[in-house]
Symmetry: C2
Subunit: 314 residues, 2 copies
Amino acid sequence: MIQEVRVFAPASVANVAVGYDILGFAIEKPGDEIVARFSDTPGLRIVSITGDNGRLPYEVEKNTAGYAAQRLLAQWGKAELGIELEIHKKMPFGSGLGSSAASAAGAVMAIKSLLGSSATKMQCMRAAVEGEQKADGAFHADNVAPSLLGGFTLIRSNKALDIISLPVPNDLCAAVIYPKVEVLTKSARDILSPQLSLTTCIAQTGNLAAFISSLYTGDFELMARSLQDVWIEPQRASLIPYFKEVQEAAKANHALGCSISGAGPSIFALCRGISQAEKCIEPMRAIFQKAGIPHQTYVSAINQTGATLINKTN
Amino acid sequence: MIQEVRVFAPASVANVAVGYDILGFAIEKPGDEIVARFSDTPGLRIVSITGDNGRLPYEVEKNTAGYAAQRLLAQWGKAELGIELEIHKKMPFGSGLGSSAASAAGAVMAIKSLLGSSATKMQCMRAAVEGEQKADGAFHADNVAPSLLGGFTLIRSNKALDIISLPVPNDLCAAVIYPKVEVLTKSARDILSPQLSLTTCIAQTGNLAAFISSLYTGDFELMARSLQDVWIEPQRASLIPYFKEVQEAAKANHALGCSISGAGPSIFALCRGISQAEKCIEPMRAIFQKAGIPHQTYVSAINQTGATLINKTN
C-alpha cells in the first residue's frame, strides 16, 4: 500500500490572448510539488510549507492546497483519514503563472494518488477549483484546469465546470518571461472596462474561433494571424513596464503571438519549435535586463501531462 | 468551348447562435440559379431576372449578382468580354437566409465556370462580397462565404477576408423555418446595443470556442451545450413572433440547438441526422400554422459543395 506520494503540478498561462477567462495552457516548468502521506492522527494537516517566505497559512481551510485536498476528501467521504501535506512552492507568487492553481491542482492529484483512486482528473476538478478560490476569490478554472489536465484547456462554463481539452499541435512551445514587478490581480481586474463594443467583440471572437481551429489543424500561419488580443491586452498593457517593447521583440523574433499571461506581469510567446522559443526569449529578456528589472525566463514545450505523480513510497 | 453555364448557389445561415458576424453554414435548399453566357455584344449585361416580382434592378452596377460578376471580370482584366447574365431567384427576399449573398456567390461561380478559370473559389470571394455589399450596405462575408464554399465557414477578419472552412460532422443536418413576417436587417441591427458586458462576452466566447471544438470532434453533446446565444438572440428575439415558443419546441424535439438565422426572421435548428431534423421541424411549423402565419420550411444536410455548376452548354 502506498504510504507517501510526491506530485508535481505545472505553472500555466491563462487567457492566451484570445480567450479571456476561458483558455489556458500548461508549461513544463516552473511548478509546485505537493507531498501527501498517511498519518496515524485523524484528519488532514499541513505539516510543512517551503519556498513561500512564510506567506502561506498552515490552516487547512485557509490554504489553497489544503482546502482543495479537504474538499476532495469530503467529496469522497474520507474527511476523517489521517493525512499530512507538504507544500513546496517552486514558483513565484503573483507572477500571472497560476501559482495558487498549481498548488490546488497538485493537492488533489496528491490525494488521488495517495488513495489510489481511479477517479479521473476531471472528477477532482471541482475540489481543486474550490481550493484555488481561497487564494483568488473567484471560482474559475482557467489556471487550475491546464495545471491539472495539462495541454490546452477550454472552460465553456466556469459555473458548470464544463471543461474541454484541446489538442496541442506538434512542436508548439512557449517562451515565458516573468519580470519581477507587482501587478495585483485585483488591479488587473479593476482596470478592465465592464463593457466592450460590438466591434471589439466581433474581432475578438473571430480571432478566438480561428485560434481554436488552428489548434485542431496545426495551421501555424493561421495561429499567428489569430493570436491578437484586441480586448483585454490594450486595457492591461500599461500595468506591465516595457510590455509593448517585449511584445514587439517577440513578434520580430519567431513568436507566433505574444501577450500577457493571466493577469500579468508575466508575458508569454507561443513559438514553433523549442529552438525558435529559445531564440525568441533572448530579445525579450534583453529589454528587462537593460531596464534593470529582475526577471525569470522559462522556455518549454506545452506540458501535456498536467499534475503528475513523481514519486511514491510504499 | 463552353458557351453557357447554369450555377446553383445555396441559401445560408449566418451567426449560428454563437458566431455573430463570423460564422455561417450552407443548406441544400433553397438557393438561386445564375445563368451566364457569351454574347457578341461587348460588356456585361443582365438580360433576365425571374422570381423577384420585379424588385431587382437590371443595371449591373446596382445588382448584387451583376456587380459581383463585374468585379470579378475587372479583377481578371476581362471587363470587355461580352457576357449575358440571367438571375433566377428561387428563394425569398428578407428571410435571413442570405438571398442576396446566394446571388452574388452564384454570379462569381457562373463567371468562373463560363471562363473555365482555374481560380479557386477563395480567389473569387472578394468580388462576391463586393456584390453582396450592394444589397446589404456592409462589407461582410458571413453569408457569401458559406454560399460560395459550402459547409461551415468562419470569418476571422472581414476586412482581410481571412476565411476558414470548418469541418462538418457526419450527420449534421439543419431544420429551417421561414415565417413570412418582415424583419428589416436595418431594424435587426439598430436594436442591438453597441456595447455588451464582460460577463456576456465571457459566456458567449466559451460557447463559441466549444462549438468550434465540437465541429472538429463531432461531439454532439458538446455542440448541444454550446449552441446558446447569450448575446444577440436575447436582443432580437422579440422581432420574431413566437420565436421563444418555436425555439422551445425545437429543443424539446431533437434539436441540438435553435436560434435566429442571420438577422431573421428565419429560425434554424441543428440536428443529428435527417430524420431528427424532419421530426424537429414539425412542432416548429405547427406553431406558425396555429398562429396563422404563412411559412416555409427547409430540411437538409449541411450543404458541403457551395455554389456549383449544374449545367453547361458547349
